[in-house]
């Protein structure tokens, strides 16, 4: 049967009421300056002429009629490609508070149509789930009467952690006596800027982060380190004295490693560590993905590829035949590249198989740590189904691994770093310390740093989350100079310093009432409780209500 065309409705047609974000526009305030339509990264709104009926009643002639006026207004596009993403840039630039997106309280049908042309939904950001188990963990072993609580403002706190393989005391003394190799260990701040690649991030964002990290280390005395994602490191950084604050990541595409290896003879210092990425919490089983429009001239040079081509990394390292060989070989090769002076550790996505990886590392004398990235971690680009439904929450995964080390008496030897949803709802110190007390030696945070230090607009309400498209309205994840020049690296650096100073203060405010100041309370599980009996049982901590 031939369909009628008089009603403009197709299976995929939408109205503005079907979208997740609805633009509210106040005509009475609008000056038609056009800034909102210019700034909108999705071209979701446009200025258009509209016609309005003006009822007219002539009482003397006893006659009713209509008049029409034409005005210029804002209209929201309804095509899925131009859907409003709720970033609110229109509100940011509007001089009169005349426009802004509001979340649609109804059931937005647009989510059923994120498969146009057979393309499954890809996006950036985190899992679109706002809850956080870590937010529910409270610190409740308060030393007040049994012993004096400490003064968070004036007492001295040792907050740093160790990154690197730690020997058993017996082995350390033996090697010390015989002059054998002692694995490198770094003393660092336990909140680490997690791996975000030079490619995913704009040059201004990267520069701002690095400036902020250097300031934290050299002026504030907070030994913050940051990890590159896959994709190398700018050549001037590789040859600078700031390399010691950088964890270089090698991932399955090996992008950028030509440049790194060539720079080794010219390096003024060693990097903080090498991270071998085997998996990522947000998209387990996927390699990195840099879309063609983000592969600028600079990125192409760094990665050793032509400009403007898609750069999908394979899901696994090509050398991966078995964990014993490949992990051991990669760890040893990379250790050797820097003369065994740099800690080398793998990063995996949270998984029920994390324990077997860990146990393998315990037996590998060159493995320096294990980094586990939970399902709530962020990414610059992934399929929605990977982000929302694939992976393992970090808390129980970490706890299981830590308790496994405890049973073997190895908890001091292989530090476990945790990531995935730290500071998801802003409670970054609480989340990080909860994981530390569950057994983590430190935590990585990427999305939180973008939000806190650069004003990333993304949220778990699916706000913005277009890092994959290179249209980041704040200039954080774009390689388009028109966009990233919006971001001032100096201001990012200031915010990085602000963020870490606040984390340091909050750590002290949390640890002081617990009576802890002399060492980071790794595994101090007697200090925490949760208001969920099942979670408490699983994590082997107290149930509180």
């Amino acid at each position: 049967m031939v369909s009628i065309r008089s009603i403009p409705s197709t299976p995929s047609s939408l109205t503005h009421l079907d979208l997740q974000w609805i633009i509210k526009h106040r005509e009475d305030r609008c000056t038609l300056c056009g800034r909102c339509t210019t700034v909108c990264p999705k071209e979701a709104i446009f200025l258009t002429y509209r016609r309005q009926r003006m009822p007219k009643l002539d009482i003397l002639k006893k006659k009713r009629s209509s008049e029409y006026r034409t005005f210029t207004g804002i209209r929201q596009r309804t095509e899925p490609a131009n859907r409003c993403i709720g970033c609110g840039m229109c509100a940011t630039v509007c001089p009169n508070e005349a426009i802004g997106p509001e979340p649609n309280p109804n059931d937005p049908r647009v989510r059923l149509l994120h498969n146009d042309k057979g393309e499954a939904w890809k996006r950036g950001g985190r899992r679109n789930f706002r809850g956080s188990l870590l937010d529910r963990i409270m610190f409740n072993r308060i030393s007040m009467l049994t012993d004096p609580a400490l003064d968070a403002g004036r007492h001295e706190f040792q907050l740093n952690t160790l990154l690197g393989r730690v020997l058993s005391p017996e082995e350390f003394l033996h090697r010390q006596a015989t002059g054998e190799w002692i694995p490198p260990v770094r003393e660092i701040f336990p909140f680490i800027i997690g791996s975000m690649s030079f490619g995913a991030l704009s040059p201004n964002m990267w520069l701002g982060l690095l400036q902020g990290v250097a300031y934290c280390n050299e002026v504030l005395g907070i030994p913050v380190v940051m990890a590159t994602g896959e994709g190398g490191c700018p050549p001037w950084v590789l040859r600078s004295p700031y390399l010691k604050y950088i964890i270089l990541q090698i991932a399955s595409g090996y992008f950028g490693w030509d440049e790194i290896i060539r720079a080794i003879p010219d390096m003024q210092c060693d990097p903080a560590a090498i991270e071998i990425k085997y998996g990522q919490g947000a998209k387990p089983g996927d390699g990195g993905l840099l879309m063609w429009f983000k592969v600028s001239k600079l990125i192409a040079r760094l990665r050793g590829v032509p400009e403007g081509v898609d750069l999908p990394s394979p899901p696994v390292h090509q050398t991966l035949y078995s964990i014993e060989e490949s992990v051991m070989k990669m760890i040893q090769s990379l250790s050797m590249a820097w003369g065994f002076r740099v800690p080398v550790y793998p990063k995996i996505s949270g998984s029920t198989s994390a324990k077997s990886v860990l146990n393998n590392l315990v037996r590998n004398p060159y493995a320096s740590a294990l980094m586990i990235d939970g399902v709530d971690g962020g990414t610059g680009a992934a399929y929605n189904v990977s982000m929302d439904a694939t992976g393992h929450p970090i808390a129980s995964n970490l706890r299981e691994c830590y308790l496994d080390l405890v049973a073997q008496g190895k908890q001091n030897e292989i530090p476990i770093f945790a990531a995935g949803g730290i500071g998801k709802n802003g409670n970054v110190t609480q989340n990080g310390l909860a994981l530390i007390m569950l057994g983590a030696s430190g935590v990585h945070m990427g999305k939180y740093i973008m939000q806190s230090a650069a004003g990333c607009l993304g949220s778990e309400q699916n706000r913005c989350n277009v890092c994959n498209l290179g249209i980041c309205p704040k200039g954080i994840t774009s390689q388009n100079p028109k966009l990233y020049r919006r971001l001032d690296p100096d201001q990012v650096a200031e915010r990085v310093a602000d963020t870490f100073m606040a984390i340091r203060t909050e750590m002290r405010k949390t640890l002081a009432p617990l009576g802890r100041s002399q060492s980071l309370p790794i595994g101090m599980s007697d200090a925490i409780g949760i208001d969920d009996a099942d979670a408490a049982e699983r994590l082997q901590i107290k149930y509180i209500c």
């Binding site: 003394l173 405890v406 008496g409 908890q411 001091n412 309370p521």
Partner: protein, 384 residues
């Protein structure tokens, strides 16, 4: 809070004198218990020094009923030990709070004959094993047998109640039992439930410590020690037991000098170690022992098999201890009035309260107190 007193003297003295000194510090404790550890023993009716050459182990503990005592006798006999001396306390049971006490035993045993071929390490491990087996046996029988220590020249008494009352009830004031080192602590642990094993001083293979204050790093340290699967690293009914076990680990297992203990439990900061002559080694040591870093406030008083006594503070030093005395006679206490009560006729201007970096050591010759600082060169340069 626990009150601690240690007295060490060249000439043996009655432990009762230390208990009277504890009374001086009575404002601070709740009278819930007493722990006593004696070294350099001198029995009125048994010449321990000559008869055993200080080699025979002494078993200290409590049989809570007749049946337990019989079992103890049988077990020790089966294991090949020969009873050489059984110190009979002149007990007045009516003064003891707890009612399930049958016999406080303090017995000297000759070790099994085949041990003649054992080396020292082997003997020490066997002695530990015997004590742990007895403890286990007691626990399997409803807690009717408590074994505190089994070691040459060491006696331990632990009981619930007011310290001076316990001393009187056990007839410690009759001068039949004297010692050159007495460690006394006046409280049962109330943080984790009352248990005789939870009372300080804690003892393992010749090393003993007692502590006041709360160690907030207890759980991670306990997990680390338990994970070593060393037979004696059990118990932990008190957060302070880890201090004795860390000392044992550093001193007996790693075989490092006593001064290392302080570097393990309260290591110096990186900035400080960067200036230390053995800073690189000490940083490495701090890294490998970081799980043993304590978080006080604590004052730790301890003694070693050679009668060396020491005191250390935690880093925060919110529980200051005092050491004072004169040649041949020294006292350490958690309160200054405790030192006054133990050795009143000393030069008080020479009293010393250790700072966060100090270890105060009274060597076996008891000639002077040694004030050692973590900033000093490490005493075993060949290791570092």
């Amino acid at each position: 809070m626990c009150r601690l007193a240690l007295k060490t003297a060249t000439k043996p003295f009655s432990p009762y004198s230390v208990l009277t000194a504890m009374e001086a510090m009575q404002e601070g404790y709740d009278g819930s218990g007493l722990g006593l550890l004696l070294r350099g023993l001198d029995f009125e009716d048994f010449n321990y020094r000559n008869r055993s050459k200080n080699q025979y182990p002494i078993l200290s503990g409590i049989a809570h009923n007749e049946e337990a005592l019989k079992r103890l006798n049988l077990l020790m006999e089966n294991w090949g030990y020969k009873l050489k001396y059984d110190h009979e306390f002149a007990v007045n049971f009516s003064m003891i709070e707890a009612k399930d006490r049958s016999k406080y035993f303090l017995r000297v045993y000759k070790t099994p004959d085949h041990w003649a071929y054992f080396d020292q390490q082997n003997i020490e491990d066997e002695l530990l094993k015997t004590r742990l087996d007895l403890r286990k046996n007691g626990e399997e029988n409803g807690g009717d047998l408590t074994a505190f220590s089994f070691w040459p020249d060491v006696a331990t008494i632990k009981e619930v109640g007011w310290p001076l009352e316990i001393g009187k009830a056990l007839g410690l004031n009759d001068d039949r039992l004297k010692a050159r080192v007495v460690m006394a602590q006046g409280r049962q642990n109330t943080n984790y439930g009352i248990n005789l094993y939870a009372c300080h001083p804690f003892f393992i293979q010749g090393v003993a410590t007692m502590t006041n204050g709360e160690n907030t790093a207890f759980v991670p340290i306990k997990e680390l020690l338990t994970g070593m699967h060393y037979p004696g690293y059990i118990g932990y009914q008190s957060d302070s037991e880890v201090f004795a076990h860390i000392l044992h680990y550093v001193y007996k297992q790693l075989k490092l000098p006593l001064e290392t203990y302080k570097h393990v439990i309260t290591p110096l900061k990186t900035e400080e170690l960067n200036l230390h002559p053995q800073g690189e080694f000490l940083k490495g040591l701090r890294n490998v022992c970081r799980r043993m870093i304590i978080d006080g406030p604590n004052c730790v008083i301890g003694s070693l098999p050679d009668e060396t006594c020491f005191m250390v503070q935690d880093h925060k030093k919110l529980r200051p201890g005092t050491v004072g005395g004169k040649k041949g006679e020294w006292a350490m206490a958690s309160e200054m009035c405790g030192v006054d009560a133990m050795i009143p006729d000393r030069d008080r201007s020479l009293d010393f309260q250790p700072m966060r970096e100090n270890t105060i050591i009274i060597p076996p010759d008891r000639k002077e107190m040694k004030i050692w600082s973590q900033f000093d060169p490490y005493p075993l340069p060949q290791v570092a």
